[in-house]
């Protein structure tokens, strides 16, 4: 049984059969290429109800509605390849449906030096945090 509005419904154990290039409208990477796997994405609650969204975009907005989800988590939950999720997330951010947060990632100049190394103060916080687990 296929629900045309939600192809994921009841399809948890089935393979995703739409070609990745169809999902992304033929585009491969471009601006989305550098988007870190761990970058967090957050959408406004209700954003998934907007008109004209593809099922894949709708699903991403649903997952990130009012909560933070990393690009990697979105990929795992939607069962879409990382590259596809990167393109869709970048699209959705450009269309103002969601916000991408890269604090702490290699894209964040406040926490990384020019060589991509993390700042000492951030590492100290991480160390204290793990030690307290």
């Amino acid at each position: 049984m296929t629900d045309i509005l939600d192809p994921y419904k009841g399809a948890d154990d089935e393979a995703y059969t739409v070609r990745p290039y169809a999902v992304t409208g033929g585009r491969v990477s471009g601006a989305s290429k550098g988007l870190p796997l761990e970058a967090l994405v957050q959408a406004d609650s209700g954003a998934q109800n907007a008109r004209g969204l593809t099922p894949e975009k709708r699903k991403i907005l649903q997952l990130a509605a009012g909560q933070y989800q990393s690009v990697a988590e979105l990929s795992a939950h939607t069962r879409l390849p990382l590259g596809v999720v990167r393109v869709l997330v970048t699209d959705l951010a450009e269309e103002n449906y969601l916000t991408i947060h890269t604090s702490g990632t290699a894209d964040d100049e406040a926490t990384h030096d020019a060589n991509g190394g993390l700042s000492l103060s951030l590492l100290e916080s991480v160390l204290d945090g793990i030690a307290a687990l």
């Binding site: 990697a72 939607t78 990382l82 000492l120 590492l123 945090g129």
Partner: protein, 199 residues
Amino acid sequence: MASQPSNATVAPSDTPLAPTVVKIVIAGGFAVGKTTFIGSISDIDPLNTEAAMTEHSVGVDDAGGVTDRKTTTTVAMDFGRIALPGALWLYLFGTPGQDRFLFMWDDLVRGAIGACVLVDTERLDQCFPAVDYFEGKGIPFVVCVNCFDGVARHKLEDVREALGVPPEVPMMYTDARERSATKQALIAVVQLAMQRLKS
């Protein structure tokens, strides 16, 4: 699973302060215990994502135990997440099990604190690609000898010699099933990264 709002992730949509995210890469050979390691300390059950699509992986991909997918034209990797105090999220990314997926590692390690190489002394050669890669890229890494049954079969110095890693690379025993052991391994990675920064 798809709509699991764990407490740590819930935030009002207008919250200006997103968590700061950092990551540590967990590397090692096929079935050395990477997913177990991640699962022992992650807040969430390890998730599985597809990192690339290639015909070459058909039928032989290490899907890290998640093999219900019918399309096998994927490279899968497992990851977990730990919420730390101060709105800090630590992601643990397991590398795809086989060295022919090394091309993906650049993506994984970009911005990472460092890496932990899990070693099974019965199949020492499986961790060579990881050691080579991190050495070549200058990424801080520690070597963790996984003791599956709680018994250390080899001296750390013997393993060091066999792997050919220099003395400044920390080596330790670990038990991928034990949260306290994996925690020590993660601490060692962060300490090494800090040491590097200070020197």
